[in-house]
């Protein structure tokens, strides 16, 4: 591929703009389905109307759907022969430019000095996970995850005596319901849950967040997990928390479970709560053309 630095930067800039300003079709469908489940004239239905209207305004005006443009989680698959450092530089410059163009809020704050870097560049910001692969093109996946939903994300260690949750999928089910109960509307419900089962504390959360890259309407390849996802979706939506926690029939739009092998001594369940503004965009950079998916 003979793209120069400016071109590469431009492709990532467009990916960022799309992620921040245009909600994926799968999420829009999730919101439409949720609105149908609410009673006519209810506050919950009115919230969904506002959400859908907001998505429209953001797309038409090319402005962020939500002012919290979140942490930027990139997964970038790239071919043998390309330098990771070149791609990284293009992503960082695209991020700076996207911030200057108000597609992104400056969101990187030094925890010691409290200073905002002003351009979204900082230690571990943006987060870029590089994977070299055997294909001859770049595939970049980006998710923007807001702070409100990150704050209600949580990790459990099984067994959990208080919840009578043992070290099995039934225990997993119990702690996930507890997490949603504790989140109430604070993570901008209705949410989507990415859950990591197993791993160590770090890989467990990474597994949880990776589930959020799946399509909202896909089916888990593992039969047991597919069944549990459906069960949790139904059970959680009986809690009545509803959009924004105002009460209603949709508390989550989806539950996505994934696993990582655990240590014999540890059984972590990590729950990455994604807000309704479930923002993702992909870019595929091939020698003969560029494709954006969202």
């Amino acid at each position: 591929m003979n793209y120069d630095f400016e071109q590469l930067k431009g492709f990532f800039l467009e990916q960022i703009r799309l992620a921040a300003t245009s909600l994926p079709a799968q999420t829009r469908k999730g919101l439409e389905l949720a609105m149908e489940r609410e009673e006519n004239g209810s506050v919950a239905e009115n919230v969904f109307k506002q959400l859908i209207e907001n998505v429209k305004i953001a797309e038409e005006n090319s402005v962020p759907i939500c002012q919290d443009t979140g942490t930027h989680i990139h997964y970038i698959y790239y071919p043998v022969g390309m330098r990771e450092a070149d791609i990284e530089k293009a992503v960082l410059e695209a991020t700076k430019e996207a911030t200057a163009l108000s597609y992104l809020r400056p969101n990187a704050v030094d925890p010691i000095t409290d200073k905002n870097s002003g351009n979204n560049i900082g230690k571990k910001n943006p987060q870029i996970h590089f994977h070299q692969w055997d294909n001859d093109y770049i595939h970049g996946k980006l998710m923007l995850k807001g702070g409100g939903s990150e704050n209600v994300s949580t990790q459990y260690k099984l067994p959990d005596t208080k919840l009578h949750a043992g070290r099995d999928l039934e225990g997993v089910r119990k702690v996930i319901i507890d997490a949603v109960r504790n989140a109430q509307g604070m993570g901008c419900a209705p949410g989507v849950l990415g859950v990591g089962i197993g791993g160590d504390r770090g890989s467990s959360f990474i597994t949880a967040k990776e589930q959020l890259f799946r399509n909202l309407f896909d089916e888990n390849e593992n039969k047991e997990l597919a069944e549990l996802e459906k069960k949790l979706f139904d059970q959680i939506n009986t809690l009545g928390i509803g959009p924004m926690g105002f009460g209603g029939n949709t508390t989550v739009m989806g539950v996505k479970l994934g696993t990582a092998h655990r240590l014999p001594a540890s059984f972590f369940v990590s729950i990455a709560y994604m807000c309704w503004a479930y923002r993702k965009a992909e870019v595929i950079i091939k020698a003969d053309g560029i494709e954006y998916k969202n």
């Binding site: 002012q67 604070m186 901008c188 809690l239």
Partner: protein, 195 residues
């Protein structure tokens, strides 16, 4: 559930009329303020913000901003942030600065609810994540305080809004929609979790 239009500044009497579930369209001048602003207030008790807080509302919001062609600021995306982080401070801020309300999302707890009751103020819930729509209700940015020190999201932005939509979820009579939903959903969760 009633629907109201309220102009800021507002009187205590008008605010006392509001009940949980009422839908309100706000117009007038207000200030934003979130984590950094609350910390600053508790440490410095600044006077510059007094005229904007008194008989008005404080909006928990860290906006995305841009510039107009004439160099003035504009709000590009401006939805609410989670309010619960200000629970330790808000009661004090309401009392010291005579606020008539706060706008945010997710609701607040007992200490704030008590302060709302005592001082005649309400908690107004804006729809989280509806930032593009909310920014279009912000007609003008009048001023900004502590932009350098606190950064864009945390600064005090003084804005004029028109028909900004909110729902009363905590009123000045001790009622909180959030408490009701928490209690109900918790009971159902306990049943689902079982033994």
């Amino acid at each position: 559930m009633a629907e109201y239009k309220i102009n800021l500044p507002v009187t205590e009497e008008e605010i006392r009329k509001l009940k949980v579930g009422d839908q309100v369209l706000l117009s007038g001048v207000m200030s934003t303020g979130r984590d950094g602003a609350h910390k600053y207030i508790m440490n410095h008790h600044p006077d510059f913000i007094r005229p904007y807080f008194e008989n008005s509302v404080l909006y928990h919001c860290g906006p995305v901003v841009g510039k107009n062609e004439d160099g003035s600021w504009k709000f590009v995306a401006a939805g609410p942030t989670t309010s619960i982080r200000e629970e330790p401070y808000e009661a004090h801020v309401i009392e010291e600065y005579k606020l008539r309300g706060v706008i945010g999302k997710g609701g607040m707890r007992e200490k704030t609810l008590e302060a709302l009751k005592k001082n005649g103020a309400v908690y107004l819930h804006a729809v989280g994540g509806a930032a593009a729509a909310q920014a279009s209700a912000v007609k003008e940015v009048l001023d900004v305080f502590l932009l350098e020190e606190l950064g864009v999201p945390e600064a005090f932005w003084i804005i004029r809004v028109e028909d900004f939509p909110v729902v009363v979820t905590m009123d000045s009579h001790g009622n909180s929609l959030h408490d009701v939903i928490r209690e109900k959903s918790s009971k159902i969760a306990d049943e689902l979790i079982g033994e």
